[in-house]
Symmetry: C2
Subunit: 332 residues, 2 copies
């Protein structure tokens, strides 16, 4: 029997997580029980929402347990199967988290067709981040032709897909990120109409220049002062899909901010927090449509792949310093 490695949550962070919050364990690889398969992980997903699960607070997702495997999406190859639907060599995607190998219930994984797209897109553009962009933008944001759509965290896995789908729908798209490299990619490769760098520009002025007709849809991945500035430009009947608040995830004592409710009232705006899981019944309509856009070259994606299982925590930390362009993955 061979060995496996996995990361467990060693302690809960106060503020920015550090390596001390993670423990790397080496253990004997368990044999699959009846109905289970053993997978060898190819790619780990690294996502901002994981920061929330490290806290022990009321939220949509249950907190990670101390000593438990660090959870999340992964894609891997079946190396042993005791489940009728999966055979050795199959590629599957599931939520077994940060482990090099795992014995998992065969009913809880989804087959991945390696001929359709690179296998890791099943946890990226055609997986959770892509579906998050699709449903948040189209179901809540509902951009119309000629409207202005602003997306924060525009260079991230979700943000860059939001902007491209908004372009497909005929909107004017403005991306906000904290990096010139990201903004250059958004403008030059993805066709964003304007970009704003919240780290180097005066945010309010830059946004006013980028949004001369105000803001109709604000897809928010970031929150904090970035959102404060966008809110001032909201048009009547603006829609704000609330997807993430990465600027606030590592803040132990949140600073107060401007009160938004009077503004949301006078602009008769809508704010809606959502989870991609709420749209599970409709994934089957979204994935083929997005795959079609990809084939037509209208929907591109980028991955930021860090090599080596042991570097997963560092890949995670990079999300909060704005280093990753596109979907953050770890290649095991």
């Amino acid at each position: 029997m061979s060995e496996k490695k996995r990361f467990v949550l060693a302690s809960r962070p106060d503020g920015m997580p550090t390596r001390e919050n993670f423990e790397l364990k080496t253990e004997e690889l368990e044999a699959p029980k009846d109905g289970e398969i053993t997978v060898e992980t190819l790619y780990l997903s690294v996502d901002p929402y994981m920061r929330g699960r490290m806290n022990d607070t009321k939220s949509y997702a249950k907190p990670y347990e101390i000593g438990g495997t660090f959870g999340g999406g992964a894609v891997g190859r079946v190396i042993e199967s005791r489940h009728a639907s999966h055979k050795e060599g199959d590629i599957v995607q599931g939520g077994w988290g940060w482990q090099t190998h795992a014995a998992v219930n065969g009913d809880h994984v989804v087959p991945v067709d390696p001929d359709l797209a690179p296998v890791q897109s099943s946890i990226g553009a055609l997986g959770m981040p892509g579906l998050t962009a699709y449903f948040g933008l189209l179901d809540i944001g509902q951009p119309k032709e000629g409207e202005t759509v602003v997306v924060s965290g525009a260079g991230g896995a979700v943000g860059m897909i939001v902007g491209q789908i908004a372009k497909i729908k005929g909107a004017r798209v403005v991306g906000i990120s904290g990096s010139e490299e990201k903004n250059r990619y958004l403008s030059e490769e993805l066709g964003f109409d304007a970009v704003v760098n919240y780290k180097t520009e005066s945010l309010g002025e830059a946004l006013e220049r980028a949004c001369p007709d105000g803001v109709d849809v604000y897809f928010d991945n970031v929150g904090g002062e970035v959102s404060d500035a966008v809110f001032l430009l909201l048009n009547s009947n603006a829609r704000i899909p609330l997807c993430g608040q990465i600027s606030q995830y590592n803040v132990s004592d949140p600073e107060p901010g401007p009160r938004f409710l009077p503004l949301l009232l006078t602009r008769t705006a809508l704010v809606k927090g959502f989870l991609v899981g709420q749209y599970q019944q409709r994934f089957g309509e979204a994935i083929p449509e997005m795959a079609g856009w990809m084939r037509e070259g209208k929907l591109k994606y980028r991955e930021n792949i860090i090599e080596g299982f042991d570097n997963a925590p560092e890949a995670f930390f990079g999300l909060f310093t704005g280093e990753n362009l596109g979907k953050q993955l770890v290649k095991v």
Copy 2:
């Protein structure tokens, strides 16, 4: 020809409005032109939204003009008609504002049936405030049986109807006001399940006691610290119809408050600012249903009537000190 009196906006307030912001003018009553009617005002409507229109800021409603009549709803008797649909003695409701008499376009007023209900209910429970409660609660709030509905400004014209419709829909209803008299009325006469006095009680503790199962719908008329406290108790998928923000209307330099977006995200909550005018196409379904509830004794309403046209500004000021129980009217 007789005389008329009207209030015009003399200056824009900075903070709480004062008598100096109003000028009472006495003028000759104009004769109706072709297509117009002359009305003698019976009741003036006095509403919180008017405070917003006194400012010169971007909002859903155009600001009042300096020197222009103070606008708003009114109900009156036709004393002269040059319009085919209206005859002398008819009761009509319209937006001619704070005037004792006015010549108005006969197409812009709505006939009132004095046998259906007291005529002033056409600008109260069966008018703008009642319709605001109806659509905000049912279209945005969508309370389900057994859910907890919290309403701020519960003793006002909108709030007391919100609570009663929520009871009709089988919800548990919690009202927040700043007066023992209002709260006693809400509990004893209108059947609210719990009441909280934000002026005399520790708001957070009192709300936790009143909402042991959290908050599913928060109908907000008030904003500020009252809303800060309610937000902390929101359940997953909570809905927040944003109707008013009366605590903030007279604040020249808004204090910052807690940042809400992370909380709205983790609770996957909805916030929607709305205007009753957005539902105009559906008024015809709402009014008969509400009139039916009134006949069945399920929907009661109260009016706070101040006598004397000249006292209209004082009636208006009373909205901001929490003095009015129910719909604030001036009897001319």
